[in-house]
Symmetry: C2
Subunit: 344 residues, 2 copies
């Protein structure tokens, strides 16, 4: 039944292809469904409000490695990843549910550590843990979270709203979580060969923290509200900058130009990339899990954001058909290429 | 790190204990959160409406066996199980999300079969598939669904609303899904020993269907609305009648008496139980997955339900402290005992 040719086609389709493919068959019958598959969160109308619903799975050995991931951090990150999708709609998260399947290797203490992190993130972001489901798994830990949020109908921001001439902006810095992962993987290899050695993580605390315990950009969504800013389009950087830019491009029907010398990277991440023999540009373009916000802005907002140290203008949107490109420091234009189905 | 004594304590705590235990630490900060952990679905206030949110995980070899579960049926059932939680709050489901993790043994054709079932259930129940997440798993298929619904604030029904003197009612019949599972497991054993034999499922089509492709009681919630009935308390029968009665008892602070001779069972399920050497009462009390509704009713509603063939009065609620009991056909009283953490 499971022939090789079909197996290959599923792998080739990849995550994005699969979601698109399956989404094609989804018909919508409820007039309350404002936006279904295809954005960071679904949008549902309730009276005069929009509710947002997002969902994410985190799987041991696919999304995290418990050799170097403290369970408390994992719980915290699982919540943050989900809330980031709500912020990417310019919304405010309000409730989450947490479902988990766990194998018999997990103790009650371990599960409590996980929930300590979940509760800590809930407190920090002001969301309530309102439900979930618990089950056994045959191997490892499976987490599935859903987040509910709200947004005013005139403030909701989709992937599809970018217009030619808008500025492309990103928050914080890029590539840090990816370089943090490289450090953790290196220390894991060292540990497996020399269990008596202590891992050297303190020197790279910032980028290791970016990988293990990221934050979502609640502050930026609040900054938008305080300054009367509504981005044209927005997405969170979970799979890598290139991939997210291509999402905005596809959904908005515009192309983007970005400039290598504008891309924000942490100094330690930059140096480590060189030490690891990785082009820092590659780390910024293709390293995922930074959970920053990528958005386009009408130029009228430029004066409001130019002095915000957490927002960097990295390029602009232009008419479709001119390719999505990065202009290197030496002035050469390279087409942006997506990274698919990501795994450790 | 993972010592035996702790491992035991997690298993002993079981699913219900674990959810309760973890829920203890969940503080609520959002005034919009009307009801958090501890019911079939969470309740969130949005302006003058209540939104409902429920979530369920379905895991291969824990909740289903693909040897005898067609993927289309599995997709259909996964949706139904989730919607049943929304109906159990007297609500109307409106949207679902579907996340899945699948191993490399699954082909694109297989995933499309699964989604054909998901889409069929969405169509039948009038809900929209609005999002999800796709990932790889190391072994088997993991499904995690969330459902959104709505309910009028004056119509929402909790597990906690039962009052002494109310009638205890159940919809449809009980134990069928459990006996269907016994038939499927028997045919699987026969098939593994004699692969040339065709499984005999047609003779038991009704109960096998109860296991493989259950329905949720949308019709009953509509019947309540048409007749101005609001149950005192309600829960869906997913883990078995005994377990659900004990939930209502605990949350409402009342005890229940039910009568064996009132419990509804399908004739084929009854006969099969005898053939399998299973007490039909045990099948009805402890066999799960019927996805019927169990609810209490003020006696003033009795005339409205007594002629509904899909509703059976099986007992009543009384003051707490008198035990939850089943009165057997011979007139003896037996305490109801919960079944925990259920697995194939």
């Amino acid at each position: 039944m499971f022939e090789n040719i079909e197996r290959t086609s599923l792998e080739e389709l990849g995550e994005f292809g699969l979601i698109d493919h399956l989404g094609r068959h989804a018909r919508q019958v409820n007039s309350a469904t404002v936006k279904g598959i295809g954005d960071d969160a679904a949008v549902v109308q309730v009276d005069g409000r929009y509710m947002l619903l997002s969902t994410d799975m985190l799987i041991e050995q696919v999304h995290f490695d418990l050799v170097y991931t403290p369970l408390k951090h994992l719980g915290y990150k699982a919540v943050v990843v989900n809330l980031s999708d709500i912020y990417a709609m310019n919304g405010t998260p309000t409730q989450i549910t947490v479902s988990m399947a766990l194998s018999s290797k997990f103790t009650l203490d371990a599960v409590e550590e996980l929930y300590a992190g979940i509760n800590l993130a809930c407190e920090k972001y002001g969301v309530d843990l309102v439900g979930g489901d618990t089950s056994s798994s045959h191997r490892g830990l499976y987490l599935s979270l859903s987040a509910l949020g709200t947004v005013d109908p005139d403030k909701v921001v989709y992937r599809s709203g970018a217009k030619p001439g808008e500025l492309l902006c990103v928050t914080g810095d890029l590539g840090g979580a990816y370089m943090g992962l490289q450090v953790l993987e290196r220390e894991k290899r060292v540990f497996l060969e020399h269990p008596e050695m202590q891992p050297d993580l303190e020197t790279h605390a910032y980028i290791v923290g970016r990988q293990l315990r990221p934050e979502a950009r609640k502050d930026i969504v609040e900054f938008f509200a305080q300054n009367g800013i509504v981005p044209g389009s927005m997405i969170d950087v979970s799979d890598g900058l290139s991939s997210e830019i291509l999402h905005l491009s596809k959904h908005s029907g515009v192309d983007f130009v970005i400039y290598e010398d504008k891309l924000p990277i942490d100094q330690d991440a930059y140096q480590l990339a060189i030490d690891f023999g990785i082009d820092p540009l590659t780390a910024m373009l293709n390293g995922g899990e930074d959970y920053e916000l990528l958005f386009t802005l009408d130029q009228k907002y430029f004066d409001l954001v130019k002095n915000n140290p957490d927002i960097t203008v990295i390029g602009y949107a232009r008419e479709s058909g001119m390719h999505n490109q990065v202009i290197s420091k030496s002035g050469n234009a390279h087409d942006l290429i997506a990274q698919g189905w990501k795994a450790l």
